[in-house]
């Protein structure tokens, strides 16, 4: 069926089965490949996008449930020319190894910083409760998010 999605500030029409997980529509119909499959069960966070301000795992959300809502993916976070402070901080802290978890974590972190300008270490850790990292870059990621928050406050 034809559905209209509001993705990264643009209305996009897709023809898909209503039950298709949003993840596959983002990746395979809209070419937004930065959102990634990790488990299909909403347990690892690699597919995290922001929907109406909240971090949501797109792998087990039917695309029909996202109609009429604002969806933001990592592609809209910043551009190569104008990176988001979170992306700048990830570079500053070299907060990646394989990087497969990065898109989802960046989106979870953006959702946090959008509502909490000065998160504590515990706030950041609990905002990432739904995101796994297997390479063990946790410390760098936590530092990077803290740094981005500081930059965004202009401190």
């Amino acid at each position: 069926m034809a559905l209209t999605l509001n993705v990264n500030g643009r209305l996009r029409e897709v023809v898909v089965d209503a039950e298709t997980p949003l993840l596959y529509t983002l990746r395979n119909d809209l070419g937004l490949i930065g959102t990634r499959y990790g488990c299909g069960l909403g347990m690892c966070g690699t597919c995290t996008v922001i929907i109406d301000g909240k971090p949501v795992q797109s792998c087990d959300l039917p695309v029909s449930a996202a109609v009429g809502k604002q969806i933001t993916t990592v592609e809209a976070l910043g551009t190569d020319e104008k990176l988001h402070p979170l992306q700048q901080a990830f570079i500053a802290e070299q907060a990646a190894q394989c990087g497969y978890c990065a898109s989802g974590i960046l989106m979870a972190a953006k959702a946090l910083l959008d509502v909490n300008k000065d998160p504590s270490d515990a706030d950041i850790r609990s905002a990432l409760e739904g995101n796994l990292c297997r390479c063990g870059t946790h410390g760098r990621i936590l530092r990077a998010i803290k740094l981005a928050a500081k930059e965004m406050r202009g401190a």
Partner: protein
């Protein structure tokens, strides 16, 4: 000043010796760029960044001029497998030499062109200048014939003191794409007309397909082909979610024969099985008795690599050629096994590497590649992208072997170790493609005409497999180290970070702690007392200093600290770590202080990143991880069954790098594993007074230990 290699050795550095043509490694392009074509691959460890630094250094060019080509059987040097933390030694030293020789060749051409002697030339970012005036650039001097020659021996590489790029923390070359959502992985590949595949695996490792009515599935929306060959069952569909639905349906309607029962999953069962026994080290009189004798046994379970991305490959049958994109760690060995499984000539299979998520060893990267090829053959001309589901990855990836280590030692009256025995039981730790006499790819065993797996085995010492790090670095007057290898395993086992070195160093470092306690000695002093190696002592002393270690410090019934040390493979990175734990019923690792010595650090921050990652991943192995199975199936299928360390639980980690630019560089990806597990066990003892000897240290096990 310069270093000249010993001409008597007549062996070129690293992988250059087996791949001597310079143009297999480098090309100097007329557009002012340099293409580097290493055979080693990025698996998240940051190797490509370090290789770029090595080449920029020896060629005297800016880093930004370097282009990396993905490893491909079409042109790359055969560097075997990216494993064992050997890429710096294999690929880095090869490229260092090749780049230095390339620079010499360019200088020779410049000298001729400018009519001056070599001594009168200097290079800056590819521009060669004569002291008397006149310049020539690499880009105009290089012609295709320049590097169409074999490397020679008499090449002068820069001295460490001359390095300006090597030894600096260059930002990772891959990070920008990864944090801006650019296609970065094989999972992200999109080719024109690409279809999606999925595999309906047997429910358990010994199950076989009895029957399946594929017609019903063939009628499902989007399904292009159902592929059945023996117990290999897969589907190709137009859309990814259609392939998943069809695979789920196939799995439901297929009739399977469950096969023989699997045995119990307890690692202690290993001691009851027929083993091949080998004494790998013996010195002095192993019968020496002391004033006091100690014995202990340590175990680890089956562990999963648990890559965050389930494995994926893209395959396309194009006439008589098969094109493959894979995140395999060894494209050439994989090509050999694929050719056998598919009945094709190796030359007709072109395998190109594309990154996957971090793999930490032999995961399902190779297996999914044969799966994709088998599906692609059913839809000639069409590229097929196949990503395993999470459940497939947990159930079918090769696991790290369970192990049991029995330690026995004697202390003399002064509390020194006078006798040491280490006996280990393990399955094989290396069943990658490229094994002799078989095909090491899951689908090959499920075909109508199955191809048997190669006999599982171990890489030889000094690196070793199950016996890696079994010989202690400590100096004991009498010792005996015995390896019991049990080749057949109910679940397939293969390489995961540190191989047997994880359990062996864990056992050694826990046991040393038990002996120190028995001797009434401080665990830091006790280790130093039994070591002669000064670099080993230096990392231990550094970690102790960072942590503010107090001799004979005691935990308080809740908090405690423990130390451990190892030198990876006894020939690579030195690593010492102190763990601080807080235990109620559950163990929380709060802080870790670590010191590492990898010789010359090409990229110091890259080394530290690898060490931090190794530490945190091992905290997860130690506290939480275990693959389990019942009589027929692997019951661990998702992240609830196999929890890993979360952001809430991750410890603070501080790493000090002892950089030794004058010492040969070695890898940093492994070597943290055994010491980290042991430091945690020792810290728990320091806190609570109980010895945890069986990993993982779960809440149930802590409660049980406290109640005995």
């Amino acid at each position: 000043m310069a270093q000249v290699k010993d001409p008597a050795a007549r062996k070129l550095p690293g992988s250059l010796d087996a791949n001597r043509r310079l143009d297999r490694w480098l090309q100097i392009n007329s557009d002012g760029t340099v293409t580097v074509t290493p055979g080693k691959v990025e698996i998240g460890q940051g190797i490509l960044t370090a290789l770029v630094q090595v080449v920029a250094e020896e060629l005297d060019i800016k880093v930004a001029r370097i282009r990396l080509a993905p490893a491909s059987t079409a042109f790359s040097p055969d560097e075997g497998i990216t494993s064992g933390s050997r890429s710096i030694q294999d690929s880095g030293l090869a490229l260092r030499h090749a780049a230095a020789e390339t620079r010499d060749l360019l200088l020779a051409r410049a000298a001729q062109k400018l009519g001056v002697t070599l001594e009168n030339l200097t290079v800056a970012d590819g521009v060669i200048s004569a002291r008397s005036g006149g310049t020539a650039t690499y880009w105009e001097l290089a012609t295709p014939d320049l590097l169409a020659r074999e490397a020679t021996f008499d090449v002068v590489e820069k001295l460490p003191a001359e390095h300006v790029v090597v030894g600096t923390s260059l930002a990772r070359v891959d990070i920008l794409g990864k944090i801006t959502g650019k296609p970065s992985y094989v999972q992200d590949m999109v080719l024109p007309g690409m279809l999606h595949g999925r595999i309906a695996r047997p429910p358990g490792p010994r199950a076989r397909l009895k029957s399946v009515d594929v017609k019903e599935v063939e009628q499902m929306p989007g399904v292009v082909a159902v592929v059945r060959d023996g117990s290999f069952l897969g589907v190709v569909a137009q859309r990814e979610e259609q392939a998943i639905r069809a695979e789920r349906r196939l799995a439901r309607i297929a009739q399977w024969d469950a096969g023989e029962e699997l045995p119990d999953s307890d690692p202690r069962r290993l001691q009851t099985l027929a083993a091949e026994t080998e004494v790998i080290s013996e010195k002095g009189d192993p019968a020496t008795a002391g004033a006091r004798q100690l014995t202990a046994e340590y175990t680890k379970p089956y562990l999963a690599h648990a890559s965050l991305a389930p494995s994926c490959a893209v395959a396309q049958q194009d006439g008589g050629k098969l094109k493959i994109w894979t995140h395999s760690q060894g494209i050439y060995p994989l090509r050999g096994d694929m050719a056998q499984a598919l009945g094709m000539a190796e030359a007709d299979i072109i395998i190109t590497h594309a990154e996957g998520a971090g793999c930490y060893g032999h995961n399902a990267a190779d297996d999914v590649t044969l799966d994709a090829a088998l599906l692609a053959r059913a839809v000639p001309g069409k590229p097929v992208r196949l990503q395993w589901m999470r459940e497939d990855e947990f159930a079918w990836e090769p696991f790290s072997s369970p192990m049991i280590v029995r330690m026995n030692a004697a202390l003399d009256a002064k509390g020194n170790i006078v006798n040491w025995s280490h006996e280990l039981w393990s399955h094989a730790h290396s069943t990658r493609p490229g094994g002799r006499g078989g095909v090491n790819l899951t689908a090959a065993w499920h075909l109508e005409k199955p191809l048997p797996a190669a006999k599982p085995g171990n890489p030889p010492l000094p690196g070793g497999g199950s016996h890696r790090n079994a010989v202690p670095l400590y100096d004991f007057p009498n010792q005996k180290i015995t390896n019991h290898l049990i080749r057949e395993s109910p679940l397939r086992t293969s390489a995961m970070r540190a191989l047997g070195g994880h359990a062996n160093a864990f056992a050694i470092e826990c046991f040393i702690d038990e002996l120190a306690e028995a001797a009434g000695a401080d665990p830091v002093e006790f280790r130093l007392r039994h070591l002669k190696d000064t670099r080993a002592k230096a990392v231990i002393e550094k970690a102790a200093q960072m942590a503010g270690w107090k001799p004979n410090e005691k935990g308080d019934g809740e908090r405690g600290r423990g130390i451990a040390f190892a030198r990876y493979k006894n020939l690579a990175a030195y690593f010492a770590v102190i763990a601080e734990v807080q235990v109620s019923e559950e163990v929380r690792v709060k802080r870790m202080w670590a010191a590492v010595d990898v010789g010359q650090a090409i990229n110091p921050d890259g080394v530290i990143n690898q060490i931090e990652g190794g530490i945190i991943q091992t905290v997860s192995w130690t506290l939480k991880e275990r693959i389990d199975f019942d009589r027929h199936v692997v019951t661990t299928r998702n992240w609830t069954d196999y929890p890993i360390l979360t952001f809430v639980e991750a410890p603070e980690v501080e790493v000090a790098l002892i950089n030794r630019p004058e010492s040969p560089p070695v890898g940093a990806g492994e070597g943290t594993q055994g010491p980290v597990s042991a430091a945690i066990a020792n810290a728990i003892h320091n806190a609570l007074g109980v010895r945890m000897r069986d990993m993982p240290f779960t809440r149930e096990r802590i409660v049980a230990a406290l109640s005995t």
